[in-house]
């Protein structure tokens, strides 16, 4: 029996494969494709205290081996989330991680406080780093003192594991990671999207209504891997790797670089079965390589 399990603070995952926030809806969208309980867990689309309509179109555009998005965190708000989305999520037996964002530190606190009353939430992921929300957004993730302050405030209102999602659009991602760790975060996830832009040379307009957006997909994988490697070296808390993972081979790169878990993001769009394929691929790899415990490979990159 191959052991794929991993540990994120007090949270034990049956395997390290999670879905990235904003690429998996509220999981129900994928229920027709496979048994969602085969994953390590799911991370929901961002929930905010108030409903948000999202940004004006065009919101997405395709780029070489990637895509730009500026969706703007549309969601029904915490109360409607609890009424409409949570019933399905609460029936999943694996880890359900709720991704939360806010315009102000107080928004984060209020949302987490309200959601914390629900039974069955495995962890919270704090989205400090959406590059597409004009108000606040980036400042939470680009200023270590602000990141530390918000993390500490949320820490006070929940005992559940707290994951802070980090942006790569900063000078030093490990400085932000350290601030979150110092404030009581149980793990970090990295990376969120890279700020990018594309212009239609015929209309001479930006391809996104918001001008710039967040780049994701295989195009960012090497950048993500370098950031995860950096964070895993400087932090004591676990690092969850995100960025262009499409296959078990991609996932193994992140584990070797030090990731304790992974999130599958953009790949879910083109291949709705992608996350399950990564789980099965990891199983297959371990069987073939006679590896009894997948996490023995964590951080096992040979540097010399």
């Amino acid at each position: 029996m191959i052991d794929l399990s991993t540990q994120i603070a007090s949270l034990r995952l049956q395997n390290p494969v999670l879905t990235a926030s904003g690429t998996f809806g509220y999981a129900e969208e994928f229920a027709d494709f496979y048994d969602l309980n085969r994953l390590g867990g799911v991370v929901t689309k961002t929930v905010t205290i108030e409903p948000r309509p999202g940004n004006a179109p065009p919101r997405i555009c395709e780029t070489p081996a990637g895509m730009l998005n500026s969706i703007g965190l549309p969601n029904v708000g915490v109360e409607q989330f609890i009424a409409e989305k949570w019933p399905f999520l609460s029936r999943l037996v694996n880890a359900v991680i709720i991704n939360v964002a806010g315009k102000t530190p107080d928004d984060f606190v209020r949302a987490v406080e309200r959601l914390d009353a629900l039974d069955g939430i495995a962890a919270f992921e704090l989205n400090y780093s959406c590059p597409n929300v004009k108000e606040g957004g980036l400042s939470f993730s680009s200023n270590p003192r602000v990141a530390e302050q918000v993390t500490a405030m949320v820490r006070k209102v929940t005992r559940r594991p707290l994951i802070t999602k980090l942006t790569p659009n900063v000078t030093s991602i490990s400085e932000i990671g350290r601030a979150c760790e110092a404030a009581g975060a149980d793990a970090v996830s990295a990376i969120n999207t890279l700020v990018g832009m594309a212009i239609d040379i015929h209309s001479r307009k930006p391809r996104l209504a918001s001008i710039t957006g967040g780049l994701s997909g295989p195009a960012i994988r090497p950048v993500a891997l370098a950031k995860v490697f950096e964070l895993a070296r400087v932090l004591r808390i676990p690092v969850i790797g995100i960025g262009g993972i499409q296959s078990a081979a991609d996932a193994l790169e992140f584990i070797l670089a030090g990731a304790a878990a992974l999130q599958i993001g953009t790949a879910n769009f083109m291949n709705p079965g992608a996350a399950l394929e990564v789980v099965e691929g990891l199983e297959h790899y371990c069987a073939g390589q006679k590896i009894a415990r997948l996490m023995d490979l964590r951080g096992a990159v040979k540097l010399k």
């Binding site: 689309k45 999202g54 997405i60 395709e62 969706i71 549309p74 997909g217 769009f269 083109m270 709705p272």
Partner: protein, 254 residues
């Protein structure tokens, strides 16, 4: 078919039974290389006897050119069936289908569905020029009267499909109940919407948006509501709430 226009048939016996006009499939391009997304295509026709589904497309980009080079027997990765479908006429006496260019695609299946429907069927087909004209003969075989127009006058009447439509609406007996079906480029949708509102004609439109997934996960294909909902909702999703919408409920901005 017409210049750069291709019809691709693929075996999909189950879908051929259930596909409804307006629904779409999302296809991974062959040899897609660094092209990340699938490409959405309206179901053009569904033949339940032969178990095939057809799509209609123009080979204009890298992905669609690769698709146009598919040979019989090649395998395709197709995600479907996606989206909602046109509501069929009930007590109406006439249906009018308005197509701009390849917007004609879903109407082949719609007319197949309506083959036993006794009412009058008129299709307004607009193309840039005679080189692009396609599907007209088959639509006639399926019981429709065709009004052809082209931008340069090389096929049918010269001018916009909307002009031809409006001329017809002015001349017809306004007491007869009619239902409009619309598909085409955004500027055309905008004009037809204005015409439909002016003549108080109920209309259904199928939209074509950029989308990364096709099943509601990427939230990248918003369609703007004409009136925001009381809870602040401003957008619907082309893939999940559509691609067919009541024309008066949505607006087309740049």
């Amino acid at each position: 078919m017409a210049a750069d226009t291709f019809r691709l048939s693929f075996a999909a016996p189950a879908w051929a039974q259930t596909a409804r006009a307006g629904q779409f499939v999302n296809i991974q391009m062959p040899q897609h290389g660094d092209l990340l997304w699938r490409r959405p295509f309206s179901v053009h026709d569904a033949d339940s006897a032969h178990g095939t589904l057809d799509i209609l497309f123009a080979a204009v980009g890298r992905g669609s050119r690769a698709l146009s080079r598919c040979k019989p027997g090649d395998a395709l990765d197709v995600l479907g069936l996606l989206g909602n479908s046109f509501t069929e006429p009930a007590e109406e006496e006439e249906v009018i289908l308005v197509a701009g260019g390849l917007g004609v695609a879903p109407f082949m299946l719609l007319l197949r569905q309506l083959r036993h429907w006794p009412g009058k069927k008129t299709v307004f087909l607009g193309f840039r020029s005679s080189r692009q004209v396609c599907c007209a003969e088959t639509l006639v075989q399926r019981g429709a009267r065709i009004v052809l127009s082209s931008d340069d006058g090389s096929a049918g009447v010269r001018g916009l499909v909307t002009t031809a439509l409006e001329d017809y609406l002015i001349s017809r007996d306004a007491r007869q109940k009619v239902l409009l079906y619309v598909c085409g480029p955004t500027p055309m949708l905008r004009s037809v919407r204005a015409v439909a509102l002016q003549y108080h004609i109920p209309a259904q439109v199928t939209v074509e948006n950029r989308m990364a997934c096709g099943f509601g996960a990427c939230v990248g294909c918003p369609v703007e509501l004409a009136q925001p909902r009381p809870d602040g909702q401003k957008y619907l999703l082309a893939c999940k709430d559509g691609p067919v919408f009541p024309l008066e409920e949505i607006v087309f901005n740049d």
